[in-house]
Protein backbone atom coordinates (compact mmCIF):
# COMPACT_ATOMS: atom_id res chain seq x y z
CA UNK A 1 0.00 0.00 0.00
CA UNK A 2 1.35 3.38 -0.87
CA UNK A 3 2.13 6.03 1.67
CA UNK A 4 -0.45 8.86 1.83
CA UNK A 5 0.61 12.22 3.26
CA UNK A 6 -1.69 14.13 5.57
CA UNK A 7 -0.56 17.67 6.41
CA UNK A 8 -1.37 18.22 10.08
CA UNK A 9 -3.52 21.26 10.83
CA UNK A 10 -2.59 22.38 14.33
CA UNK A 11 -2.00 25.31 16.62
CA UNK A 12 1.27 24.81 18.57
CA UNK A 13 0.74 21.06 18.68
CA UNK A 14 -3.00 21.10 19.40
CA UNK A 15 -4.36 19.18 16.44
CA UNK A 16 -7.58 20.36 14.81
CA UNK A 17 -10.36 17.88 14.16
CA UNK A 18 -9.98 18.15 10.36
CA UNK A 19 -6.70 16.23 10.67
CA UNK A 20 -8.54 13.22 12.15
CA UNK A 21 -10.91 13.43 9.19
CA UNK A 22 -8.03 13.52 6.70
CA UNK A 23 -6.28 10.55 8.35
CA UNK A 24 -9.55 8.61 8.16
CA UNK A 25 -9.91 9.43 4.45
CA UNK A 26 -6.23 8.68 3.80
CA UNK A 27 -6.72 5.11 5.04
CA UNK A 28 -9.00 4.51 2.05
CA UNK A 29 -6.07 5.31 -0.25
CA UNK A 30 -3.13 3.69 1.48
CA UNK A 31 -1.08 3.98 4.68
CA UNK A 32 -1.31 7.43 6.25
CA UNK A 33 1.82 9.37 7.24
CA UNK A 34 1.26 12.63 9.05
CA UNK A 35 3.45 15.59 8.12
CA UNK A 36 3.81 17.90 11.08
CA UNK A 37 5.23 21.36 10.38
CA UNK A 38 6.26 23.61 13.27
CA UNK A 39 6.76 22.96 16.98
CA UNK A 40 4.71 20.81 19.34
CA UNK A 41 4.89 17.45 17.53
CA UNK A 42 5.26 15.64 20.86
CA UNK A 43 1.86 16.78 22.05
CA UNK A 44 0.29 15.92 18.69
CA UNK A 45 1.75 12.43 18.41
CA UNK A 46 -0.85 10.55 20.46
CA UNK A 47 -3.74 12.02 18.48
CA UNK A 48 -2.09 11.30 15.13
CA UNK A 49 -1.32 7.69 16.12
CA UNK A 50 -4.87 7.17 17.35
CA UNK A 51 -6.31 8.10 13.94
CA UNK A 52 -3.98 5.88 11.99
CA UNK A 53 -0.71 7.71 11.25
CA UNK A 54 1.95 5.04 10.85
CA UNK A 55 4.69 7.71 10.71
CA UNK A 56 4.82 11.33 11.76
CA UNK A 57 7.37 13.36 9.80
CA UNK A 58 8.40 16.36 11.88
CA UNK A 59 9.60 19.47 10.06
CA UNK A 60 10.58 22.13 12.56
CA UNK A 61 12.56 25.32 11.98
CA UNK A 62 11.84 28.91 13.06
CA UNK A 63 11.54 30.11 9.44
CA UNK A 64 8.56 27.84 8.92
CA UNK A 65 6.34 30.04 11.06
CA UNK A 66 8.02 33.44 10.72
CA UNK A 67 6.99 33.76 7.10
CA UNK A 68 3.74 33.23 5.25
CA UNK A 69 3.21 29.71 3.78
CA UNK A 70 6.09 29.69 1.23
CA UNK A 71 8.62 27.97 3.55
CA UNK A 72 6.03 25.37 4.59
CA UNK A 73 5.28 24.61 0.95
CA UNK A 74 8.99 24.36 0.17
CA UNK A 75 9.69 21.94 3.02
CA UNK A 76 6.66 19.84 2.15
CA UNK A 77 7.61 19.76 -1.54
CA UNK A 78 11.06 18.41 -0.66
CA UNK A 79 9.54 15.65 1.41
CA UNK A 80 7.07 14.80 -1.36
CA UNK A 81 9.91 14.59 -3.88
CA UNK A 82 11.95 12.27 -1.71
CA UNK A 83 9.15 9.98 -0.46
CA UNK A 84 6.90 10.02 -3.54
CA UNK A 85 3.63 9.45 -1.66
CA UNK A 86 0.50 8.24 -3.45
CA UNK A 87 -1.36 11.44 -2.60
CA UNK A 88 -1.21 14.50 -0.34
CA UNK A 89 -4.29 15.50 1.67
CA UNK A 90 -4.45 19.02 3.11
CA UNK A 91 -7.31 20.77 4.84
CA UNK A 92 -9.09 23.23 2.60
CA UNK A 93 -8.52 26.34 4.71
CA UNK A 94 -7.10 29.55 3.26
CA UNK A 95 -3.60 28.53 4.38
CA UNK A 96 -4.06 24.90 3.36
CA UNK A 97 -5.11 25.87 -0.15
CA UNK A 98 -2.16 28.21 -0.53
CA UNK A 99 0.28 25.49 0.50
CA UNK A 100 -1.49 23.11 -1.89
CA UNK A 101 -1.25 25.61 -4.76
CA UNK A 102 2.46 26.14 -4.32
CA UNK A 103 3.04 22.41 -3.89
CA UNK A 104 1.21 21.73 -7.17
CA UNK A 105 3.53 24.06 -9.08
CA UNK A 106 6.71 22.82 -7.33
CA UNK A 107 5.95 19.14 -7.85
CA UNK A 108 4.18 19.52 -11.22
CA UNK A 109 1.05 17.90 -9.87
CA UNK A 110 -2.66 18.37 -10.38
CA UNK A 111 -4.63 19.99 -7.58
CA UNK A 112 -8.21 19.63 -6.43
CA UNK A 113 -9.54 22.01 -3.79
CA UNK A 114 -12.66 22.01 -1.60
CA UNK A 115 -13.22 18.26 -1.92
CA UNK A 116 -16.02 16.86 0.24
CA UNK A 117 -15.08 13.23 -0.34
CA UNK A 118 -11.97 11.29 -1.39
CA UNK A 119 -11.73 7.64 -2.38
CA UNK A 120 -9.69 5.15 -4.41
CA UNK A 121 -11.28 4.71 -7.83
CA UNK A 122 -10.54 3.15 -11.18
CA UNK A 123 -8.76 6.34 -12.28
CA UNK A 124 -6.70 6.64 -9.11
CA UNK A 125 -7.66 9.10 -6.39
CA UNK A 126 -11.22 10.25 -7.00
CA UNK A 127 -12.83 13.24 -5.33
CA UNK A 128 -16.25 14.80 -4.95
CA UNK A 129 -16.62 18.59 -4.92
CA UNK A 130 -19.72 20.60 -4.20
CA UNK A 131 -19.64 23.57 -6.61
CA UNK A 132 -21.65 26.60 -7.72
CA UNK A 133 -22.79 27.41 -4.19
CA UNK A 134 -23.56 23.76 -3.52
CA UNK A 135 -25.91 23.40 -6.49
CA UNK A 136 -23.75 20.86 -8.35
CA UNK A 137 -21.74 17.83 -7.38
CA UNK A 138 -18.59 17.16 -9.41
CA UNK A 139 -16.46 14.03 -9.38
CA UNK A 140 -12.89 14.53 -10.50
CA UNK A 141 -9.46 12.96 -10.52
CA UNK A 142 -5.86 14.11 -10.82
CA UNK A 143 -4.10 13.01 -14.00
CA UNK A 144 -0.57 14.29 -13.43
CA UNK A 145 2.03 14.01 -10.68
CA UNK A 146 1.15 13.35 -7.04
CA UNK A 147 -2.56 14.00 -6.49
CA UNK A 148 -2.90 16.99 -4.15
CA UNK A 149 -6.33 17.26 -2.60
CA UNK A 150 -7.55 19.99 -0.27
CA UNK A 151 -10.49 18.61 1.72
CA UNK A 152 -13.20 20.65 3.42
CA UNK A 153 -13.81 20.29 7.16
CA UNK A 154 -16.56 17.84 8.21
CA UNK A 155 -16.15 15.72 5.05
CA UNK A 156 -15.78 12.51 7.05
CA UNK A 157 -16.34 11.37 10.61
CA UNK A 158 -12.93 10.75 12.23
CA UNK A 159 -12.59 7.05 13.03
CA UNK A 160 -9.95 5.72 15.36
CA UNK A 161 -7.52 3.15 14.01
CA UNK A 162 -4.47 2.95 16.26
CA UNK A 163 -1.10 2.90 14.50
CA UNK A 164 2.54 3.39 15.45
CA UNK A 165 2.71 7.16 14.96
CA UNK A 166 6.52 6.98 14.99
CA UNK A 167 8.11 10.43 15.02
CA UNK A 168 10.61 10.90 12.23
CA UNK A 169 12.45 14.24 12.30
CA UNK A 170 13.27 15.64 8.87
CA UNK A 171 15.94 18.27 8.47
CA UNK A 172 14.82 21.34 6.59
CA UNK A 173 16.69 24.14 4.89
CA UNK A 174 14.63 27.03 3.65
CA UNK A 175 15.80 29.05 0.66
CA UNK A 176 16.00 32.84 0.86
CA UNK A 177 13.44 33.00 -1.95
CA UNK A 178 10.81 31.56 0.39
CA UNK A 179 11.60 34.06 3.13
CA UNK A 180 10.01 37.14 1.61
CA UNK A 181 6.53 37.63 3.12
CA UNK A 182 7.24 38.16 6.79
CA UNK A 183 4.68 37.82 9.57
CA UNK A 184 5.49 40.83 11.72
CA UNK A 185 2.63 40.56 14.20
CA UNK A 186 0.10 37.95 15.24
CA UNK A 187 -2.79 38.46 17.64
CA UNK A 188 -4.48 35.19 18.58
CA UNK A 189 -8.24 35.38 18.49
CA UNK A 190 -9.92 35.43 21.90
CA UNK A 191 -11.61 32.12 22.71
CA UNK A 192 -15.41 32.24 22.80
CA UNK A 193 -15.90 29.10 24.87
CA UNK A 194 -18.10 27.77 22.04
CA UNK A 195 -17.18 25.05 19.54
CA UNK A 196 -15.11 26.11 16.52
CA UNK A 197 -17.40 27.20 13.68
CA UNK A 198 -16.18 24.83 10.96
CA UNK A 199 -15.95 21.86 13.33
CA UNK A 200 -19.22 22.27 15.23
CA UNK A 201 -22.01 19.70 14.99
CA UNK A 202 -24.58 22.48 15.35
CA UNK A 203 -24.34 26.07 14.06
CA UNK A 204 -26.82 28.79 14.99
CA UNK A 205 -26.50 31.92 12.84
CA UNK A 206 -27.90 35.42 12.88
CA UNK A 207 -28.39 37.93 10.07
CA UNK A 208 -29.67 41.41 9.46
CA UNK A 209 -32.94 40.34 11.06
CA UNK A 210 -31.29 40.38 14.49
CA UNK A 211 -31.23 44.16 14.21
CA UNK A 212 -27.76 44.08 15.74
CA UNK A 213 -28.60 42.23 18.95
CA UNK A 214 -27.09 38.74 18.87
CA UNK A 215 -27.96 37.89 22.49
CA UNK A 216 -30.97 35.71 21.58
CA UNK A 217 -28.98 33.91 18.89
CA UNK A 218 -26.13 33.29 21.34
CA UNK A 219 -28.45 32.09 24.11
CA UNK A 220 -30.14 29.64 21.73
CA UNK A 221 -26.73 28.44 20.48
CA UNK A 222 -25.60 27.86 24.06
CA UNK A 223 -28.72 25.85 24.90
CA UNK A 224 -27.76 23.50 22.04
CA UNK A 225 -23.99 23.59 22.64
CA UNK A 226 -23.63 25.15 19.19
CA UNK A 227 -21.22 27.48 17.43
CA UNK A 228 -22.49 30.94 16.43
CA UNK A 229 -22.33 32.15 12.82
CA UNK A 230 -23.34 35.34 11.03
CA UNK A 231 -24.36 36.54 7.57
CA UNK A 232 -22.25 39.08 5.75
CA UNK A 233 -24.93 41.73 6.32
CA UNK A 234 -24.49 41.25 10.08
CA UNK A 235 -20.70 41.28 9.77
CA UNK A 236 -20.63 44.33 7.49
CA UNK A 237 -22.83 46.17 9.99
CA UNK A 238 -20.18 45.54 12.64
CA UNK A 239 -22.52 43.35 14.74
CA UNK A 240 -20.35 40.24 14.71
CA UNK A 241 -16.66 39.62 13.85
CA UNK A 242 -15.77 38.58 10.32
CA UNK A 243 -14.23 35.30 11.47
CA UNK A 244 -17.79 34.09 12.19
CA UNK A 245 -19.13 34.86 8.72
CA UNK A 246 -20.73 31.91 6.92
CA UNK A 247 -20.77 31.93 3.13
CA UNK A 248 -18.79 32.34 -0.02
CA UNK A 249 -16.31 34.81 1.45
CA UNK A 250 -16.55 33.47 4.98
CA UNK A 251 -16.50 29.94 6.33
CA UNK A 252 -18.10 26.90 4.76
CA UNK A 253 -19.92 24.86 7.36
CA UNK A 254 -21.47 21.45 6.97
CA UNK A 255 -22.87 20.62 10.41
CA UNK A 256 -25.54 18.13 11.43
CA UNK A 257 -27.85 21.07 12.14
CA UNK A 258 -27.81 24.66 10.84
CA UNK A 259 -30.25 27.21 12.23
CA UNK A 260 -30.55 30.48 10.23
CA UNK A 261 -32.19 33.34 12.11
CA UNK A 262 -33.14 36.56 10.33
CA UNK A 263 -31.14 35.50 7.28
CA UNK A 264 -32.77 35.78 3.83
CA UNK A 265 -30.77 32.99 2.16
CA UNK A 266 -28.82 34.79 -0.59
CA UNK A 267 -26.84 32.52 -2.94
CA UNK A 268 -23.55 33.65 -1.36
CA UNK A 269 -24.81 32.68 2.09
CA UNK A 270 -26.12 29.34 0.82
CA UNK A 271 -22.67 28.63 -0.61
CA UNK A 272 -21.42 28.31 2.94
CA UNK A 273 -24.17 26.19 4.50
CA UNK A 274 -26.18 24.40 1.83
CA UNK A 275 -24.59 21.02 2.53
CA UNK A 276 -25.68 21.02 6.20
CA UNK A 277 -27.57 17.83 7.05
CA UNK A 278 -30.61 19.42 8.69
CA UNK A 279 -31.53 23.06 8.05
CA UNK A 280 -33.89 25.16 10.16
CA UNK A 281 -34.83 28.81 9.69
CA UNK A 282 -36.64 31.49 11.64
CA UNK A 283 -37.68 34.43 9.48
CA UNK A 284 -40.60 36.82 9.62
CA UNK A 285 -40.97 36.84 5.83
CA UNK A 286 -42.63 33.66 4.58
CA UNK A 287 -41.29 34.42 1.08
CA UNK A 288 -37.63 34.43 2.24
CA UNK A 289 -35.58 32.14 -0.07
CA UNK A 290 -34.03 30.38 2.93
CA UNK A 291 -37.34 28.53 3.37
CA UNK A 292 -36.66 26.68 0.07
CA UNK A 293 -33.84 24.84 1.87
CA UNK A 294 -35.31 24.05 5.22
CA UNK A 295 -36.38 20.84 6.89
CA UNK A 296 -38.25 22.95 9.42
CA UNK A 297 -39.11 26.64 9.33
CA UNK A 298 -40.85 29.10 11.61
CA UNK A 299 -42.40 32.20 10.06
CA UNK A 300 -42.15 34.64 12.89
CA UNK A 301 -40.14 37.27 14.76
CA UNK A 302 -36.89 35.79 16.05
CA UNK A 303 -37.16 38.06 19.11
CA UNK A 304 -40.22 36.04 20.17
CA UNK A 305 -39.38 32.63 18.75
CA UNK A 306 -35.78 32.21 19.93
CA UNK A 307 -36.23 32.98 23.65
CA UNK A 308 -39.17 30.58 23.79
CA UNK A 309 -37.23 27.87 21.95
CA UNK A 310 -34.24 28.42 24.26
CA UNK A 311 -36.40 28.02 27.37
CA UNK A 312 -38.02 24.90 25.96
CA UNK A 313 -34.67 23.33 25.06
CA UNK A 314 -33.23 24.12 28.48
CA UNK A 315 -36.36 22.67 30.13
CA UNK A 316 -36.11 19.44 28.13
CA UNK A 317 -32.44 19.09 29.03
CA UNK A 318 -33.66 19.24 32.65
Amino acid sequence: MSEIFVLVDHVDGTVRKTTGELLTLARRLGTPSAVFIGSGADSAQAYLAKFGAEKVYVLDAPELTEYLVAPKAEALAELVSSKQPGAVLISSSAEGKEIAGRLAIKTESGLITDAVDVRAGGDGVETTQSVFAGNFTVEATVTKGTPIVAVKPNSAAPEESPAAGALEPVSVTISDAAKTAKITDSKPRAATGRPELTEAAIVVSGGRGTGGDFSQVEAFADSLGAAVGASRAAVDSGWYPHSFQVGQTGKTVSPQLYVANGISGAIQHRAGMQTSKTIVAVNKDEEAPIFELVDFGVVGDLKEVLPQATDEVNKRKG
Binding site: V11, L68, V69, A70, S93, A94, E95, K97, A100, G101, R102, A104, I105, G110, L111, T113, D114, D123, V131, F132, F136, T137, V138, E139, A140, V142, T143, K144, A177, T180, A181, K182, I183, S186, K187, P188, R189, L224, S243, Q248, T249, T278, V280, V282, F291, E292, L293, D295, F296, G297, V298, V299, G300, E304, V305, Q308, T310, V313, R316, K317
Partner: protein, 259 residues
Amino acid sequence: MNIVVCVKYVPDATADRSFDSSDSTVDREGVDGLLSELDEYAVEQALLAAEDGDGEVTVLTVGPADAADAVRKALQMGADKGVHVEDDDIAGSDAVATSLILAKALGTLEYDLVFFGMSSTDGTMGVVPTMVAERLGLPAVTYGSEITVDGSTVTVRRDGDVATETITATAPAVVSVTDQSGEPRYPSFKGIMAAKKKPVEDLTLSDLGIDASEVGLGAAWTKVLSFAPRPPRSAGEIVTDEGDGGTKLAEFLASKKFV
Protein backbone atom coordinates in the same frame (compact mmCIF):
# COMPACT_ATOMS: atom_id res chain seq x y z
CA MET B 1 4.22 52.65 -8.64
CA ASN B 2 2.96 50.47 -11.49
CA ILE B 3 0.26 48.00 -10.58
CA VAL B 4 -1.29 45.14 -12.51
CA VAL B 5 -4.69 43.85 -11.36
CA CYS B 6 -5.69 40.36 -12.48
CA VAL B 7 -9.43 40.03 -12.98
CA LYS B 8 -11.58 37.11 -14.05
CA TYR B 9 -14.68 37.11 -16.22
CA VAL B 10 -17.20 34.75 -14.62
CA PRO B 11 -20.79 33.59 -15.06
CA ASP B 12 -23.22 35.62 -12.94
CA ALA B 13 -23.49 33.86 -9.57
CA THR B 14 -27.13 34.88 -9.15
CA ALA B 15 -28.15 33.14 -12.41
CA ASP B 16 -28.57 29.39 -12.96
CA ARG B 17 -24.97 28.33 -13.52
CA SER B 18 -24.34 24.96 -15.11
CA PHE B 19 -21.91 22.81 -17.06
CA ASP B 20 -21.50 22.12 -20.76
CA SER B 21 -22.36 18.43 -21.05
CA SER B 22 -20.04 17.89 -24.02
CA ASP B 23 -16.80 18.55 -22.12
CA SER B 24 -17.78 19.15 -18.47
CA THR B 25 -16.54 22.75 -18.53
CA VAL B 26 -18.50 25.78 -17.33
CA ASP B 27 -21.45 26.61 -19.55
CA ARG B 28 -20.66 30.15 -20.67
CA GLU B 29 -23.42 30.32 -23.26
CA GLY B 30 -26.49 30.03 -21.05
CA VAL B 31 -25.58 32.60 -18.40
CA ASP B 32 -24.45 36.24 -18.61
CA GLY B 33 -20.89 36.91 -17.59
CA LEU B 34 -19.36 39.76 -15.66
CA LEU B 35 -16.26 40.96 -13.83
CA SER B 36 -16.02 38.72 -10.77
CA GLU B 37 -17.47 40.83 -7.94
CA LEU B 38 -14.61 39.84 -5.68
CA ASP B 39 -12.08 41.23 -8.18
CA GLU B 40 -13.71 44.67 -7.93
CA TYR B 41 -12.17 44.86 -4.45
CA ALA B 42 -8.72 44.25 -5.96
CA VAL B 43 -9.30 46.95 -8.58
CA GLU B 44 -10.36 49.37 -5.84
CA GLN B 45 -7.25 48.70 -3.73
CA ALA B 46 -5.00 48.98 -6.77
CA LEU B 47 -6.54 52.34 -7.68
CA LEU B 48 -6.08 53.60 -4.11
CA ALA B 49 -2.47 52.42 -3.97
CA ALA B 50 -1.67 54.11 -7.29
CA GLU B 51 -3.53 57.34 -6.52
CA ASP B 52 -0.75 59.55 -5.28
CA GLY B 53 1.99 58.37 -7.58
CA ASP B 54 2.70 58.68 -11.25
CA GLY B 55 2.41 54.97 -12.03
CA GLU B 56 -0.23 53.19 -14.02
CA VAL B 57 -2.84 50.57 -13.23
CA THR B 58 -3.08 47.84 -15.86
CA VAL B 59 -5.92 45.34 -15.78
CA LEU B 60 -5.09 41.82 -17.00
CA THR B 61 -7.55 39.08 -17.86
CA VAL B 62 -7.31 35.62 -19.42
CA GLY B 63 -10.60 34.62 -20.94
CA PRO B 64 -12.91 34.35 -23.95
CA ALA B 65 -13.87 37.27 -26.24
CA ASP B 66 -16.61 38.41 -23.85
CA ALA B 67 -14.06 38.79 -21.07
CA ALA B 68 -13.37 42.18 -22.67
CA ASP B 69 -16.43 43.28 -20.63
CA ALA B 70 -14.55 42.61 -17.41
CA VAL B 71 -11.58 44.64 -18.63
CA ARG B 72 -13.88 47.48 -19.67
CA LYS B 73 -15.57 47.57 -16.26
CA ALA B 74 -12.18 47.91 -14.53
CA LEU B 75 -11.18 50.67 -16.97
CA GLN B 76 -14.45 52.46 -16.18
CA MET B 77 -13.59 52.27 -12.50
CA GLY B 78 -10.33 54.04 -13.28
CA ALA B 79 -7.64 51.60 -14.43
CA ASP B 80 -5.41 53.09 -17.16
CA LYS B 81 -5.06 50.28 -19.67
CA GLY B 82 -6.00 46.69 -20.31
CA VAL B 83 -4.43 43.43 -21.45
CA HIS B 84 -6.66 40.61 -22.64
CA VAL B 85 -5.18 37.18 -23.33
CA GLU B 86 -7.57 35.34 -25.60
CA ASP B 87 -7.01 32.13 -27.49
CA ASP B 88 -9.33 29.24 -28.37
CA ASP B 89 -6.71 26.83 -27.04
CA ILE B 90 -7.05 28.26 -23.51
CA ALA B 91 -10.59 26.94 -23.06
CA GLY B 92 -10.88 24.43 -20.22
CA SER B 93 -7.58 25.35 -18.55
CA ASP B 94 -7.13 24.29 -14.94
CA ALA B 95 -5.67 26.47 -12.21
CA VAL B 96 -2.12 25.32 -13.00
CA ALA B 97 -2.40 26.40 -16.66
CA THR B 98 -4.20 29.65 -15.82
CA SER B 99 -1.35 30.59 -13.49
CA LEU B 100 1.14 29.84 -16.27
CA ILE B 101 -0.62 32.15 -18.71
CA LEU B 102 -0.91 34.94 -16.14
CA ALA B 103 2.76 34.57 -15.17
CA LYS B 104 3.87 34.76 -18.82
CA ALA B 105 1.62 37.74 -19.49
CA LEU B 106 3.03 39.51 -16.42
CA GLY B 107 6.45 38.90 -17.92
CA THR B 108 5.55 41.31 -20.76
CA LEU B 109 4.45 44.06 -18.34
CA GLU B 110 6.16 46.44 -15.95
CA TYR B 111 4.89 46.29 -12.40
CA ASP B 112 5.77 46.83 -8.78
CA LEU B 113 2.72 45.09 -7.37
CA VAL B 114 0.26 42.57 -8.78
CA PHE B 115 -3.21 42.64 -7.20
CA PHE B 116 -5.65 39.70 -7.18
CA GLY B 117 -9.07 38.99 -5.75
CA MET B 118 -9.27 36.50 -2.86
CA SER B 119 -10.94 33.92 -5.10
CA SER B 120 -13.06 33.78 -8.22
CA THR B 121 -16.82 33.43 -7.83
CA ASP B 122 -17.01 30.40 -10.16
CA GLY B 123 -14.01 28.12 -9.52
CA THR B 124 -13.56 29.62 -6.01
CA MET B 125 -10.23 27.85 -5.53
CA GLY B 126 -8.35 30.85 -4.15
CA VAL B 127 -5.04 29.46 -5.39
CA VAL B 128 -4.16 31.41 -8.53
CA PRO B 129 -2.47 34.35 -6.72
CA THR B 130 -0.07 32.08 -4.82
CA MET B 131 0.56 29.94 -7.90
CA VAL B 132 1.52 33.01 -9.93
CA ALA B 133 3.79 34.18 -7.09
CA GLU B 134 5.38 30.73 -6.97
CA ARG B 135 6.06 30.77 -10.72
CA LEU B 136 7.53 34.28 -10.70
CA GLY B 137 9.46 33.83 -7.44
CA LEU B 138 7.64 36.82 -5.93
CA PRO B 139 6.58 37.31 -2.31
CA ALA B 140 2.83 36.88 -1.82
CA VAL B 141 0.85 38.69 0.85
CA THR B 142 -2.59 37.19 0.59
CA TYR B 143 -6.11 37.61 1.94
CA GLY B 144 -5.45 41.21 2.88
CA SER B 145 -8.38 42.89 4.65
CA GLU B 146 -6.45 46.11 4.96
CA ILE B 147 -3.70 47.04 2.51
CA THR B 148 -1.06 49.71 3.07
CA VAL B 149 1.56 50.60 0.49
CA ASP B 150 4.46 52.72 1.75
CA GLY B 151 7.29 53.27 -0.69
CA SER B 152 8.22 49.79 -1.86
CA THR B 153 6.79 48.07 1.24
CA VAL B 154 3.35 46.50 1.18
CA THR B 155 1.69 45.54 4.46
CA VAL B 156 -1.60 43.69 4.89
CA ARG B 157 -3.78 42.74 7.81
CA ARG B 158 -4.95 39.18 7.44
CA ASP B 159 -7.83 37.84 9.52
CA GLY B 160 -6.80 34.21 9.72
CA ASP B 161 -8.59 31.27 11.29
CA VAL B 162 -6.81 31.48 14.62
CA ALA B 163 -5.16 34.90 14.63
CA THR B 164 -5.10 38.31 13.05
CA GLU B 165 -1.72 38.73 11.41
CA THR B 166 0.27 41.58 9.94
CA ILE B 167 2.33 40.58 6.91
CA THR B 168 4.83 42.65 4.98
CA ALA B 169 6.83 42.24 1.81
CA THR B 170 8.90 44.35 -0.52
CA ALA B 171 7.90 45.07 -4.12
CA PRO B 172 7.76 43.47 -6.59
CA ALA B 173 5.11 41.38 -4.84
CA VAL B 174 1.74 39.71 -5.24
CA VAL B 175 -1.17 40.95 -3.12
CA SER B 176 -4.61 39.36 -2.78
CA VAL B 177 -7.50 41.32 -1.39
CA THR B 178 -10.64 40.25 0.52
CA ASP B 179 -14.12 41.72 0.40
CA GLN B 180 -13.44 43.23 3.84
CA SER B 181 -10.94 45.69 2.34
CA GLY B 182 -13.41 48.45 1.49
CA GLU B 183 -16.32 48.89 -0.90
CA PRO B 184 -15.32 49.19 -4.56
CA ARG B 185 -16.29 52.41 -6.34
CA TYR B 186 -18.97 52.57 -9.01
CA PRO B 187 -17.86 53.80 -12.42
CA SER B 188 -18.80 57.47 -12.81
CA PHE B 189 -20.27 58.84 -16.05
CA LYS B 190 -16.91 60.47 -16.69
CA GLY B 191 -15.19 57.15 -16.03
CA ILE B 192 -17.46 55.36 -18.47
CA MET B 193 -16.76 57.89 -21.22
CA ALA B 194 -13.01 57.95 -20.53
CA ALA B 195 -12.79 54.13 -20.65
CA LYS B 196 -13.76 54.17 -24.34
CA LYS B 197 -10.43 55.77 -25.21
CA LYS B 198 -8.23 53.65 -22.98
CA PRO B 199 -5.96 51.15 -24.75
CA VAL B 200 -6.55 47.40 -24.52
CA GLU B 201 -3.86 45.08 -25.83
CA ASP B 202 -5.00 41.68 -27.12
CA LEU B 203 -2.52 38.85 -26.75
CA THR B 204 -2.57 35.24 -27.92
CA LEU B 205 -0.66 32.22 -26.65
CA SER B 206 1.98 32.60 -29.34
CA ASP B 207 2.56 36.23 -28.30
CA LEU B 208 3.44 34.84 -24.87
CA GLY B 209 5.59 31.99 -26.16
CA ILE B 210 3.21 29.36 -24.78
CA ASP B 211 2.63 26.20 -26.77
CA ALA B 212 -1.03 25.23 -27.17
CA SER B 213 -0.22 21.79 -25.76
CA GLU B 214 0.67 23.35 -22.37
CA VAL B 215 -2.81 24.73 -21.65
CA GLY B 216 -6.50 24.07 -22.20
CA LEU B 217 -8.71 21.14 -21.36
CA GLY B 218 -6.38 18.54 -22.88
CA ALA B 219 -3.42 19.72 -20.80
CA ALA B 220 -5.31 19.95 -17.51
CA TRP B 221 -3.73 17.99 -14.66
CA THR B 222 -7.17 17.34 -13.23
CA LYS B 223 -10.10 15.73 -14.98
CA VAL B 224 -13.82 16.01 -14.32
CA LEU B 225 -15.33 12.51 -14.37
CA SER B 226 -18.95 13.52 -13.89
CA PHE B 227 -21.17 16.33 -12.72
CA ALA B 228 -24.75 16.37 -11.53
CA PRO B 229 -27.15 18.87 -10.05
CA ARG B 230 -27.55 18.40 -6.33
CA PRO B 231 -30.80 16.53 -5.70
CA PRO B 232 -33.42 19.06 -4.58
CA ARG B 233 -34.03 19.07 -0.85
CA SER B 234 -37.41 17.61 -0.02
CA ALA B 235 -39.87 20.28 1.04
CA GLY B 236 -39.72 20.92 4.76
CA GLU B 237 -42.39 21.67 7.29
CA ILE B 238 -43.14 25.36 7.75
CA VAL B 239 -45.16 26.68 10.67
CA THR B 240 -46.33 30.21 11.38
CA ASP B 241 -45.66 31.52 14.85
CA GLU B 242 -48.89 31.96 16.77
CA GLY B 243 -47.26 32.31 20.13
CA ASP B 244 -45.97 28.74 20.09
CA GLY B 245 -43.34 28.92 17.31
CA GLY B 246 -40.43 28.53 19.70
CA THR B 247 -41.97 25.50 21.37
CA LYS B 248 -42.65 23.88 18.01
CA LEU B 249 -39.06 24.55 16.97
CA ALA B 250 -37.77 22.88 20.15
CA GLU B 251 -40.12 19.94 19.58
CA PHE B 252 -38.77 19.48 16.05
CA LEU B 253 -35.18 19.54 17.34
CA ALA B 254 -36.05 17.04 20.06
CA SER B 255 -37.71 14.74 17.49
CA LYS B 256 -34.42 14.78 15.54
CA LYS B 257 -32.43 14.07 18.74
CA PHE B 258 -30.65 17.42 18.75
CA VAL B 259 -31.90 18.06 22.27
